[in-house]
């Protein structure tokens, strides 16, 4: 279990990250620590990468039913650089603005990545949420129909980004639910 070279983050880098993300100083430093513990030995943290599996098994994401989607959305070329992890933490931080969260939520929920959340995506979302083997077809269809009837404004059986944005702006729980505490300190 090697560790990255223990370089302290430069002050300018810290300032820059603070300006570019919604994270606080402490959060950035904690993520930096966690990243150093996980990345391969002998590499500078800015060049090191983590695999999707490593990020999936972080305590914050380990039990999340959407962790594979989260990893896919935030990684580049199937690996996570330090800045990718920071970007992910920033979107999920408490201080992030609603529009950013809605944007990434849409990307996460768009399983087939066609730019819309259609019935297939909804089906997968519901199955992930219920996490059970015996979900009847009727229940699924019922739920999907209800969701679409509430938020599909133009009746095309899919949610475009605008419709999703509209639905989430009215949802009282979205901002509270779409938060992850990444740091372990």
């Amino acid at each position: 279990m090697g560790q990255c070279l223990r370089y302290q983050m430069h002050w300018e880098d810290l300032e820059e990250y603070q300006a570019l993300t919604f994270l606080t100083r402490n959060e950035i430093l904690c993520i930096h620590d966690t990243f150093l513990k996980l990345c391969p030995a002998g590499k500078y943290y800015k060049e090191a990468t983590l695999t999707m599996d490593q990020v999936s098994s972080l305590p914050a994401l380990r039990v999340n039913p959407f962790r594979d989607r989260i990893c896919r959305v935030f990684s580049h070329n199937n690996v996570f650089s330090f800045e990718d992890v920071l970007g992910m933490a920033s979107v999920f931080s408490e201080q992030a603005c609603p529009s950013l969260k809605i944007e990434y939520a849409f990307r996460i929920y768009d399983f087939n990545e066609n730019g819309f959340i259609d019935e297939e995506d909804l089906q997968r979302i519901v199955l992930r949420l219920l996490n059970s083997d015996d979900v009847s077809e009727d229940l699924l269809m019922d739920l999907i129909q209800h969701v679409l009837s509430e938020s599909d404004l133009d009746n095309d059986n899919m949610l475009s980004f605008s419709e999703f944005e509209h639905a989430m702006a009215k949802s009282p729980d979205f901002m509270n639910s779409f938060r992850i505490h990444f740091w372990g300190c």
């Binding site: 914050a60 800045e83 970007g87 730019g115 404004l153 505490h181």
Partner: protein, 666 residues
């Protein structure tokens, strides 16, 4: 729309966009149906995508949208930099390296601005940074931040909201106490202990008034040990002489060097101040993060969109809590669909059935009223009995009996508050409402019950104080003989109520919940124990409990200025007790039938309690409701129009696809 794997060839850009954008589209769009491909090309879709600056396609496989790093990059960046002034860099949905580039562009842009604009930009940025640092500082100072964070991670946002509400009440009571301390206590203390050069001013009273203000504090010669305990628990004896009660403040003014500080006025102002502050703070807290949307037609707490897209608590990091959340979601979604079915069934009731149901409901509501009346009468009797027998001397009674008499009203109130929810839950079963409505109505009745009991107590005391059968009343306006200092008596009752409520909460948590948990852990082989012992953290009950405690505090604070301080300490202790009991029992709330989300319904309860309706506000509310109705109609029309347009769009896309097919086939 069916997701057929279209065999349509890559489509050329129909709307004459710059070439570089086209090339991204043509990559592997065959996995999407032709309809979706068309939709992705539409100008409306692209402009929305550009507005989000979703420079999505990192890997070319899912090449859908726009990429900044191409030759077309400058064109795109031009679009983005138009908006740069309006948004901070953080809000862009880009990764950090792209944001860095944007920031560099922004800074080079700055050079072309005039000096004034540059300075404006710079100062606004520094101001924002300062505000952020200040926020960070204050967030650091937040009470119990780590505890609540870990609770959120382990048990979810529902339970976390209870604890953050508790924290809010601690702070509120502390602030209330500060107000009272500053305005009332501090001058008195300063003068009493000769810290400042001021003196008390006693305004000379007329004879009649003198009689009204004479207040003999009872003190027996021999002081038994347990009389101290009794005094502590009931607010009599030595406590009466302290600052705890209103009767202590007999001073009419404090003369400082330059002015006279009017103490009674200060007392009144402090009362108004803390009531206003409480109201404002609670309303602010309720409205935060809660978009009041009067236009909506459905209940948004129960809405499916909310449950599906915001149903999973992303901050759960614990395996068992995750399983609990999954099962809770399973239950909730099924229950919602069930409720839907019941509502449809209700809508299809015949008129005969409706009449039967309504008469049954009328009958059951009468029973509810009867139950309430019985409770209120019991409280009245208990209070009267307690007041009459309180005057007996201490040494004539046994310790337990004395305490029982003193605490009789509190005991009866607590018993009533305990039994009535059970009774209401049983009754509502027969009233045949939909499950969601059942829960709401039960809770409403319980809340009403709790408030009404306090009112009955106050009313009984009031009637006792002002009832007399000789001329004593005319002199001072109340029964001077029995109640020489009625404000203190009322304060005492509130004090007793608060202490008793606190004892009950502690007792229930320590002596009921904890053994239950032990039973479950060690005797888990017995099925009976398993069923009964698996208790959950019932959020509504707990929230109602602390709201009740806070209401007592508000009402009692006028008569007993130190009550907010006691309430602060009480809530702090409750926080730690509940937190440890939760950690020990390790059970979140599983089948929380009311929405598992944040405490929004519950924070509205104190807001509605505190906000008494007045004619002015009613008029304003009526206006807004009328406005909302009008808006709703417009929204319906626009929705109709939108779906018609979409149908046209799909029709055209279908025609186009068919035409393409024909062309290819030829």
């Amino acid at each position: 729309m069916s997701e057929s794997s279209g065999s349509a060839p890559p489509l050329g850009g129909p709307s004459g966009h710059p070439g570089a954008l086209q090339e991204n589209l043509s990559v592997d769009s065959s996995c999407f149906s032709p309809a979706v491909n068309f939709l992705q090309e539409l100008p409306s879709y692209r402009s929305i995508a550009r507005r989000r600056t979703t420079l999505l396609s990192r890997d070319k496989q899912s090449g859908i949208l726009l990429k900044p790093a191409d030759s077309c990059g400058s064109h795109l960046e031009g679009e983005i930099t138009e908006n740069l002034n309006s948004q901070s860099i953080r809000k862009y949905a880009l990764n950090i390296s792209e944001k860095r580039r944007l920031r560099a562009i922004q800074e080079t842009q700055m050079k072309y601005l005039s000096e004034w604009d540059q300075w404006k930009r710079y100062s606004s940025k520094s101001w924002k940074r300062f505000v952020e640092k200040a926020h960070e500082m204050t967030r650091h100072l937040e009470l119990w931040r780590e505890d609540i964070r870990s609770i959120e991670g382990k048990f979810g946002t529902g339970i976390q909201s209870y604890f953050s509400f508790l924290r809010f009440l601690v702070l509120l009571n502390l602030v209330i106490f500060m107000i009272i301390f500053m305005l009332v206590l501090l001058p008195v203390l300063l003068t009493r202990y000769k810290i400042t050069n001021s003196t008390f001013v006693y305004i000379p009273l007329k004879d009649a008034d003198k009689q009204c203000t004479v207040y003999p504090v009872s003190s027996s010669g021999l002081i038994y040990f347990y009389s101290y305990i009794i005094d502590l628990l009931s607010g009599t004896g030595f406590l009466e002489e302290t600052s705890l009660f209103y009767g202590h403040y007999t001073i009419n003014g404090i003369k400082f060097q330059n002015f006279t500080y009017d103490l009674p006025l200060a007392y009144l102002i402090s009362t108004i101040a803390y009531l206003a502050l409480s109201l404002l703070w609670i309303v602010k807290r309720s409205v935060e993060g809660f978009k009041v949307n009067l236009i909506r037609s459905e209940e948004h707490f129960q809405s499916y969109c909310n449950k599906i897209f915001a149903g999973w608590d992303f901050c759960i990091s614990n395996r068992s809590m995750a399983d609990l959340k999954h099962s809770s979601l399973r239950y909730e979604l099924r229950a919602d669909l069930e409720e839907e079915r019941i509502r449809q069934k209700i809508a299809q009731r015949t008129s005969e059935e409706t009449i039967r149901i309504y008469s049954l409901r009328l009958f059951l509501n009468c029973i509810v009223l009867a139950v309430l009346a019985v409770c209120f009468y019991a409280i009245y009797l208990a209070t009267t009995f307690s007041q009459e027998h309180m005057k007996k001397e201490i040494d004539k009674m046994v310790f337990g009996e004395n305490l029982l008499v003193l605490y009789l009203p509190s005991i009866v109130i607590t018993l009533a508050n305990f039994i009535t929810p059970i009774v209401f839950a049983k009754i509502i079963h027969y009233e045949d409402y939909s499950p969601g409505f059942e829960i709401r109505l039960t809770i409403l009745r319980c809340v009403f019950m709790r408030l009404a009991t306090i009112c009955v107590l106050v009313f009984t005391l009031g009637s006792k104080i002002t009832s007399c059968d000789d001329t004593a009343c005319e002199l001072c306006g109340y029964n001077q003989k029995l109640y020489p200092c009625w404000e203190t008596q009322v304060g005492q009752e509130m004090y007793k109520l608060m202490i008793f409520d606190f004892i009950i909460i502690l007792a229930v948590t320590l002596f009921v919940d904890f053994p239950r948990k032990l039973l479950v852990t060690y005797c888990s082989s017995w099925k009976l124990i398993q069923c009964w012992g698996q208790q959950e953290f019932a959020i509504p009950d707990n929230v109602l409990g602390i709201v009740y405690g806070q209401t007592i505090c508000w009402i009692g604070a006028f008569f007993s200025p130190l009550l907010p301080a006691i309430a602060t300490v009480k809530f702090i202790i409750i926080f730690y007790v509940k937190e440890n009991s939760l950690a020990a029992s390790g059970n979140g709330s599983a089948n929380d039938e009311v929405s598992c989300g944040p405490s929004l319904p519950w924070t509205l309860v104190p807001a509605s309690l505190a906000a008494a309706p007045r004619p002015g506000t009613s008029l304003i509310m009526f206006y807004f409701i009328a406005l909302a109705g009008a808006h709703k109609r417009v929204v319906m029309q626009l929705r109709e129009q939108l779906s018609l347009e979409s149908r046209d769009k799909r029709y055209l896309i279908q025609k186009l696809t068919e035409a393409q097919q024909d062309l290819r086939d030829q």
